[in-house]
């Protein structure tokens, strides 16, 4: 047995192939009005999606993303062997409620805003191990997240400039073992890193350290440098976290700024839309991945990219008890050609 480097899994090699068979992104109105609006498969007219509660609206968004990914891949639910899904709400309930109608073996995932990379890596591993189709789905909804983590929607509070806006969005990837682009090449699983940040309104700073750590480990474990990639997409560090990340790499002598972009900065137009430091939420990086990045890799616009979703593993309880916020980031390497 050849020993893998710590934390890095090889998905596609000489004998095995893991690829994204199909993918879809469903977003809310505000995300549809953003710069990537035309890339998404579904843009809802309002935040409610015809449901009586925000939690149900978010669940519906997940279902839309899953159903569209199936349709685009000409699959049915029966073809999918495992269903990995995650969201931000307590006990991962949005995902459980979207999965209850699927009749597919289900594994709920929680990695805060890093969940899309986590579910994608898990689905890739299960596809390779089981030679089958697996679904990786995540979502977030501004209104359901606000009422759980912050204040009621109509409350007249003011957000600080470092705060990020939870995206109303969902993304779904269906992984398989066909020899076709986009390939899931490798994945580096994150280590929980706590940089001592205690401000729940500054998640970028809480997560940038974890992104730096995971990306560094991925470069080291795969003997690559930032210039080997034509895109390094973090999500969702926002402006504050992105600036910190770039400075950390410059300090170390590896400059990522030429190829770096952040899903939280791509989803919205920060000059026109009132999102402060940028977007966040599991759905933010999921929708940017499924709406913009994966089509780019499939078409060959991007040859080799890193998708490094980042999560702040906090709860209001721990933050109120004075604890600092641990961050995590998982890196998935996606390529146009088999490497």
């Amino acid at each position: 047995m050849t020993q893998g480097k710590k934390g890095t899994i090889t998905l596609t090699d000489n004998e095995n192939t893991v690829s994204v068979h199909s993918y879809a992104a469903a977003v809310g109105k505000m995300e549809g009005d953003g710069p990537l609006g035309s890339y998404f498969d579904y843009v809802s007219k309002g935040a409610q999606l015809g449901e009586p509660t925000w939690e149900k609206s978010e669940s519906k968004l997940q279902k839309y993303a899953f159903d569209m990914a199936l349709r685009k891949g000409q699959l049915t639910r029966e073809d999918v062997s495992f269903y990995f899904a995650g969201d931000l709400l307590n006990q991962c309930t949005v995902s459980a409620y979207s999965a209850r109608e699927s009749n597919i073996p289900y594994l709920g995932q929680y990695g805060a805003c890093s969940t899309m990379a986590q579910t994608l890596a898990m689905a890739g591993v299960f596809s390779r191990g089981n030679n089958s189709y697996c679904a990786a789905i995540t979502s977030s909804h501004f209104c359901s997240a606000e009422r759980q983590f912050r204040f009621p929607i109509n409350y007249g509070g003011v957000r600080p400039p470092t705060a990020q806006w939870t995206a109303t969005a969902a993304g779904c990837c269906i992984t398989g073992t066909e020899d076709k682009s986009p390939y899931l090449s490798k994945a580096t699983i994150g280590i929980v890193r706590d940089m001592g940040e205690k401000d729940a309104n500054n998640m970028g700073a809480a997560m940038a350290g974890a992104a730096y750590d995971s990306l560094s480990r991925h470069f080291d474990n795969t003997n690559t440098t930032p210039s080997d990639y034509d895109g390094i997409f973090t999500g969702d560090l926002g402006q504050v976290g992105s600036d910190i990340l770039k400075e950390l790499f410059i300090k170390e002598g590896r400059d990522i700024s030429m190829v770096h972009n952040d899903c939280g900065l791509m989803l919205y137009d920060r000059n026109e839309q009132d999102v402060h430091a940028g977007g966040s939420g599991c759905g933010c990086s999921a929708s940017v991945l499924c709406g913009y990045i994966l089509p780019g890799v499939e078409s060959g616009k991007f040859k080799r990219i890193l998708f490094a979703a980042t999560g702040a593993l906090m709860s209001t309880t721990f933050v109120q008890q004075g604890e600092s916020i641990p961050g995590i980031s998982h890196v998935v390497e996606i390529t146009h050609e088999r490497i």
Binding site: P52, T53, I153, N154, Y155, G156, P161, M195, V240, D243
Partner: protein
């Protein structure tokens, strides 16, 4: 990781933006002041209609609370508050918004466990410490009264 928490904090601090006080403070002052002017308008109106000054004050509070609740219900209050900051938070209108907004938000969990139970989730601490402060003030007032 080859970076200490202290070094990280220095880097992080550098990239945190701060609010532009030269914009936010005048806006707060003007909108907060405007709400006070509306209050004064109602006091004068009720006095003109024949109420004494104390009753005019009470009726003005009731009116402002009603207007704030109405604007909250219409989804307009938080749009004004975004610009006003403490200008809409400090007057009695902010208190009304803090009660009405959770009452609306949590109605999906029912009238008892949602609306009623969550209604004071933001305003509750204000009431608790407001009463406590009044209580302490009362004791000091009583004690100083014994020697005056």
């Amino acid at each position: 990781m080859n970076i200490t928490k202290k070094e990280y904090k220095t880097i992080a601090k550098k990239h945190e933006g701060t609010s532009k006080l030269y914009i936010t403070l005048p806006k707060t002052f003007l909108i907060g002041g405007f709400i006070c002017c509306i209050g004064q308008f109602f006091i004068n109106l009720y006095s003109y209609l024949g109420l004494d000054i104390e009753k005019s004050g009470i009726m003005t509070t009731v009116t402002l609370v009603f207007l704030s609740a109405l604007l909250t219900g219409l989804g307009l209050y938080e749009r004004i508050a975004k610009h006003a900051g403490a200008g809409t938070l400090v007057p009695v209108t902010g208190f009304a918004n803090a009660v009405v907004s959770p009452a609306m938000e949590f109605k999906s969990e029912g009238l008892i466990l949602g609306t009623a139970a969550k209604m004071f989730v933001i305003a509750g601490p204000v009431i608790v410490y407001g009463i406590l402060a009044a209580f302490i003030y009362g004791i000091i007032y009583y004690i100083t009264g014994l020697f005056m």
